[in-house]
Every structure is written in C-alpha cells, then in structure tokens.
Symmetry: C3
C-alpha cells in the first residue's frame, strides 16, 4: 500500500462530501511575531494588546490573514495538491478573532463540480470552515480550483455550479463581540483618516515596496503548513523557479496598505480574489487600493469599508486590466474585502 | 589573557572529565513557531495542544529534534569548535518532552579517547546529557568527533573506545508518562497507516523536496545557539561556501518524512547517524525511509517503529551506497531512529 | 486629501514639539526567539529564565537592543522618513527591562534644530522616550538626523544645538531593581572573565563573522516595524541595493562580542554611535571591542564596563580611522556603550 498522499483528483470529489482536513494547529505569540517579521504589518489592533483592549477585545488577536492562512494551509493536501489553478474566492467571513493559545482545524464541503470541456480537468467548489478548539467557526469561505483528472475516461459528474454572492452584504458581516471604536486613538493607530474621510471610487497608492526573497516566502508558507511542492522545490518547475504562495502576496499587499489605510483595522469579509499573475523571488511587490463601498455597523463607532486591494510587481499604480479585459501583466493580485474602520 | 574561546584541542580532553556547557536556554512558543516556519513539520502531536492532550500529554511539546538541537548547540564551543569531522551518534534517548517555559542546559562526559595514527588528530567520545530547570534529564546521547591536536608532540592518551550499542533495545526506550494512542485520531493526524501497516524492510519515498537557502539554515542554526563559524561566515572556507549544520538536514528530512510517516509521532531513540556528504545552499533536499524494526511498548495503543531516514540532494530514492561501500555522493544523511506510532 | 504619510520635512519640526509615535507593540516569546534566530546572541541573562532569576530578575528580559529597536522603529515614520543621514546618538539609558507581555510605545521631543549652510537640509535633534503599558519610561536616548527641506525657501529656524554629554557618568546609569551578580555562575555564562580581568585600553577581537543575507535583515527590520523603503525595496536606490538598517549591524556586532565579552550582560547606557559606512547583503560582519572605562555600581557584585564596539566588513581588527581621521572604509559601526558585568 502506497503510504504517501497523491492528493485527490477531480473524480475523487463528490457533491456534498465533507473533508476533515488534517493537522490541527495551536498558535502562539510565536506565530504573531513571525507574521510581523515577514510582513510590514503595523495595524495597531494586531500589534498592541493595550490598543486591542481599548477597542473592547481581550487582547491583540492573531492577524486575520494569518488565521486565514492557517485554515487554508490545511486544505492544500486535500484540495489543491493536483490543482492546475486556484480560480477564485467568495463569501469569506471572519466569525471570531483568533488568540494565542487557540487551536485551529479546517473542514471543507464540496458544493460544486463542473468537468471542463477538454475532459482532462474539472472545477471543484468547496466551502471551507475553520474551527477552533471549542468547535466554534472562526472563518469560512468558498474557493474553487481547477483539478486534474486521474483517469481521463472517468465519467463526468453532474454539473453543479453554486450561486455565490458577488459581495457580502454589509449587514451580513460578523462584528467581533464587544468591539468598539468609540475611544479610538488615531495618533497611536498612525493616521487621522476615519471612514468619512474616504469616498467610494477613491484610489490610494500605498507607495512602499518590498522585494521578495525565497527564504521569506518559504518561511511564511511553511508556517501555515502549506507544503505544496511548487513553493519549495526549485527542481519542480521546468524553469527552476519556486512559485510564491498567493497568500504571501495577499499578506504583503495588505501590510503595505497600512500606508493610507492604517485604520482599516480588522478584515471581516472576503468578497472575491484573483491571483492575476504568478509572483517569483526578486519581484518588488507594491500595492494600491480602491474604495468600493462604505457602510455602518451595529458596533459603537465601527464602520465598514469595502476595498479592492491590488498587488503589482511593477508599472504604474491604478492599472488593473488591459484593453483586452485581461489583467495587466504587472498585476499579481486583485482582492475584494471588507474591513472595519472607525466612523 | 586572551578573552575569546579558542575551543578545546585533542590533548585538552581527559577520560572521565565532565564539561558543563554554557548558556542555558528557556524555550517558548517562539521556538515552536520558528521550528514550523523553518521545516515543513506537520506531525500533529507537535502542532496541536488539543491533539497532544488527547494523547495524554499536558500540551504540545517542542519538537524532539528542536530539543536535541538546543542541547547539541551548547556542546559546540566545548566539543566541536576544532573538530575536523562529526563522526557518529549512538545511544540517544529522549527521556522527557520539553514544553514552552522549560530551560535547557547540557553537560558532557568524556567516555573515550583515541589518537589517530597520523598523530595530528584524535577521536573524542562524549556522552551528552540535556537537563531541564528541575535537573531532570531530558535526553542523552553519545557523539564522537575527530579533533585537532594543538601540539603535535603532545603525548597520546591511553586509547579507550567505549562499547556502544548498535541500536537501543525497544524495551529501553522511555515512553513519556501518560502517553496513550488509544483514542488516536488518524484523520486529524493526516494518514491512516498504523504500525501494523508497515513491514520491516519497507521503503518509503517521501516525494517532497525543499531547496535550501542561506538565510534559513543560518536562522535555524542560530536559534539553537550553535555558532560554529563554518555555518555563518562565507569567508571562512576557501570555496566561499557556508557548510550547513547537519542538524538542519536532520530536521528537514524528518519533516519531509511526514508524507508517508505522519503517524511516526514522537522520536524517542537515536541509534546512529552519519552526515554522509556536506549540504550547501541551493541543494534540494529530499528524503526516503526504510523500516528497520517494529516493537510494542507498555503504553496504551503505542508501538515503536525503527526507521532509517536518508536525506539526499538528488538522484533516485533508495540509493544509499555505491559498489565500493561508500555513501552515494547524493546522500546527505543516514539516520537510524526510533519513533512512537499508534498500533 | 492624500492618505499616505509623506514624512516630516525640516521645516515641519519646532523646538519643544512632542511627537507621539504610532503603533504600540506588545512583545512576546516570539520576539525573543526571533532575536536569537537572527543574531548569534548568547548572553545567558537573555537566554535563560533560570539564569535571570538567579540574578534577581523575575525572568529573562527581551534583549536590551530589541527593546531599543522597537522603540526606535516607531520613530522612523515621523523622524527619519526624509532623513539624508542618521548622524548620531547620545545620552541613551535603559531604565527598565522589558518582559514578554509588555507593550511599548515611543514619544520624541524636538530638542535642537540647525539648518545647514546649503539651505537644503537641516539637522533635527530629538530625545526619544520608550514607554511601557504602565507609562513607565523603559529607555530614552537622543538622536540627530539630517532631514531634507520640502521648500528650500522656507525660513531657517533659530539654531539651537543641545549640549549633550560625551558619555553618561557611571553614577547616572540605572541598575535594574533587584539585580545581583553575587551568585553569578561564570560556567553557565560561558566565560570566566570578570570586570577585574579587563583593563582600560584593552582591545578584543571577537573572531567570529556572519555573512549578511537580504532575507535576514528584512525580517529583523520588519520585526521592529521599521518600514523605511530603503531597507526593503530593491528598486528604490539607483544601485539596486537594499541598505541594511544600522540597528541590524548593532545587534549583529553586539551578539558577536559574546566571544570575549560573555559577561557584559546588560546594556544600560548608549554614549555615542556612528554608522560609519553602509552595510549591504553579502558583507561579512565581524566585530572588535575596546575597553573605555570601568566602574562600580550600587548593586551587589555588579560592575559597569564602558566599551567601544566596532563592526567591520573586512580588513584587520582594531583599525578604526585612516590618517585623514575618517573612518576606515571597512568600518560599519562605532558604538560606545555601558554594560553591566560581574565584579
């Protein structure tokens, strides 16, 4: 009996199937420190227990994207080991902050299947749920990937494509219990801009750039226990390059967005996301944002801002697609998310 | 008086001498997170407090190899600063798991001395013991190294070569108090294979590979406070290469072995080990294992598996030695250890 | 309204102005582990809770230089974003050890202003104070930087150059409450040399060297939330090189100085410092020290040693300046500090 995991192929997924992913993970101050060492992350609520406590939380949580990476990483051996492409995200919501000492695990439900017309691959839609040690849902999101078939002659399953929201309604965002920005300290947070200072359609060039190193993206990706070969083994791709985990680019761009969005504190919704072009060591990642929507929430002083976050590896800011409608070759990431910001 | 440490030379060792090594070390969640960031480590018992507690432990320990590295690192300034070669390991046993908050220190007893026939070097055998803040032995092992003489004319000591076990008897392995695999969750652990699924002589190709970066092996080696020049200073060797700490290769190979040996949870015995060839930045490390023995233990549901773990930097799996009996040039490590696995 | 921080220009500073710097930071065992992973730090008091407790402290503090970097990093967006040069440090004192769980923030008072004769830049002197979550001063120091003017025609402010001590008097050093070296364990600390073994004028070559990698200095610099572009963005400088944060060189040199100064445990005073030449990836950093002064303190068994610490990237030790009085091109750092050492 072969002992190693060959990963699932398209015909191994069934609609409605639930996959319990392996290797639960307890996070600590170590993960938090590493997150700050790997990304230029400065959002005060994730940097300071005192700031988080003044915002009504028991302490500073692990960065929302770190929680996402841990939950996502567990799905890789079951969902994307034989994936040709990571096609999209939708309906991502953070339900609970994650604190040092919490143990995270993940499960995924297969909610859609569609064989491609070439007969060689298919698209698998999963709704992944991250759970803590009390079996509470920490976050959930839908992801769809294109997966190879093991046997080209395997019959195609019935096509089921789930209906997914283009964007989470502001009223469906989960606001962490007790959160308040009523006494928000803009000086300590780093910028004076409150929600009312932003307008829909406004674009922000985050100015700073970070040149990516192999050691750093591998350290990050391993930390989330995402062990897909393509990120680590320089002999795996014919070109000898290690493909950088898309989540590394997400975290880098989000951290860079501090400069102009220092008060977009907590990420609570992931509406959509595309890894437009691959990122490799040596690329210098920059970021720009566009305000897509603005909303109130039920928590004191807390508003919500919907942002497009674009990571690039060159070129001018605010360029997203060419005339052909395709992503500009310098665009790495196009992410659509909701964050919480003081009113 | 010269203030810097020149290291000990062969004639500085006396049989029966005990060396108390410097710089005790308190470990925390930081060391644990870094271990997971530096190696693709996924064994559930070291990743999740909840999983460790379900196995009868108070929480998730620091990886056994991390404990080994901390203990080993302290011996370097006293044992191997003037070493020409690290020749072997034997009789290594882990006595107690190490938890965040524990403080480790090391002592070594000289148990053998043998001057080489060239008169320029000699072999020193030490039994090293790692102790925690309660002076309990955490692990012990024998190591022998070839060390330069300071003065070629110094008289040779009486030759004493200790008798060392080829392998620790399964009955001599120390099983952590309270450990049970009676309710072991194979799904969360990542693989269904239990001890009875493995057969003596079985070989497993762990498939995955990691290309080594300078920054990573230096971060790792420093974390264990192993500060041997050769690992850090590119001007030290004539070829300008930094030799990678052998322990980095051990941990990398062990972590890669998750894929096929996810249930070989705790390392409890180190029977033998050879760093067959040097490893340098740019090498892509892969690993394969061979089952050498299988045994029962006194703990509920807990068996022991003796494994040969081979790290390579290329070539086909399962190639160990050439026709001349020498290690294949692609073999980096040949390690013989005992791990605990659910029956 | 532009949302990103353009940094302050020379004419934006007023004498007596107090700047409250953003993004407070809670440190944990993660920061401590990373410090040991990034630098070959082995001073026992920062490595072992047990050793620190035997010295009268509640536990092992975060390295004094890590505390300095955290406090310094917060000032970068307000003080040195448009700096042309970091000119000097003076009157730095550590007032309280920092422990895991402490939250640090920084404030700076403008204590001097002097426009340069070229009319394009000026020198700003600030006294920076690091505070913990109880608003206690953790450390303070004076720094002066040359900053660009935004508008060359802006009128020059009145010139005020503060009078700064060349060196802190030993009697003004703050000794941590409860500190004692009465039962100091020289074996565990790593070297037998006590204060009386050192003589003023003595020079020590620390022997070891570390070749610098891009990934490492970026990880370190980000950890202190110092996000100056020049350290991270390879497209920022015309030569495509990333300038290494001067504090990285300070920490590297201090850690290397363990070999010969293992008992110079706690840093309590920063008398002066110059970043003599820039450091880049690929440089091999070595260090040497010179004993500048020796003093007693009020704490049991605790003396103070004033040291010049010089980091180099090549050349022979003990070379500081050329015949023209300028720093030798191989000198990276010239630091003058006080440390506590057993009598």
């Amino acid at each position: 009996m072969a002992k190693t995991n060959p990963g699932r192929f398209f015909e191994d997924y069934q609609l409605g199937q639930t996959i319990e992913h392996a290797v639960p993970r307890t996070v600590s101050g170590g993960e938090r420190a590493l997150y700050h060492a790997l990304y230029p992350a400065r959002h005060a609520l994730y940097s300071s227990d005192a700031f988080a406590q003044a915002s009504g939380l028991p302490g500073s949580p692990i960065d929302d994207l770190a929680a996402f990476h841990v939950i996502f990483g567990k799905t890789v051996p079951d969902v994307s080991l034989n994936a040709v492409a990571n096609l999209g995200y939708a309906e991502g919501r953070w339900h609970l902050p994650v604190y040092a000492g919490d143990t995270l695990r993940s499960t995924s439900e297969v909610i859609g299947l569609k064989q491609n017309s070439n007969g060689k691959t298919g698209v698998v839609y999963v709704r992944t749920r991250g759970l803590n040690q009390r079996d509470e849902t920490v976050m959930d999101y839908v992801r769809w990937v294109m997966v190879r078939k093991r046997d080209i002659d395997a019959p195609a399953p019935e096509t089921v494509v789930p209906t997914l929201s283009k964007s989470i309604a502001a009223s469906d965002l989960v606001i962490p219990q007790g959160l308040t920005f009523a006494d928000y300290n803009f000086t300590l947070a780093g910028e004076p801009h409150r929600l009312s200072d932003y307008t829909i359609g406004e674009q922000i060039d985050h100015v700073d750039g970070v040149t990516i190193e192999e050691a750093e993206h591998m350290i990050a990706t391993r930390l989330w226990q995402n062990t897909a070969k393509v990120h680590f083994d320089a002999t795996f791709r014919p070109d000898g390059q290690r493909l950088i985990y898309g989540g590394h680019v997400i975290s880098m761009a989000r951290a860079l967005s501090f400069n102009g969005l220092a008060n977009a504190q907590m990420i609570v919704g992931l509406n959509a996301g595309a890894h437009a072009n691959p990122c490799f060591s040596g690329d210098t990642v920059k970021a720009w944002s566009e305000v897509l929507d603005i909303a109130e929430t039920s928590a004191p002083g807390v508003g919500a801002i919907r942002l497009r976050l674009v990571a690039t590896k060159g070129g001018a800011p605010f360029v997203l697609r060419g005339e052909d409608g395709k992503y500009d070759p310098n665009v790495l990431l196009d992410l659509d998310y909701w964050a919480l910001m003081p009113l």
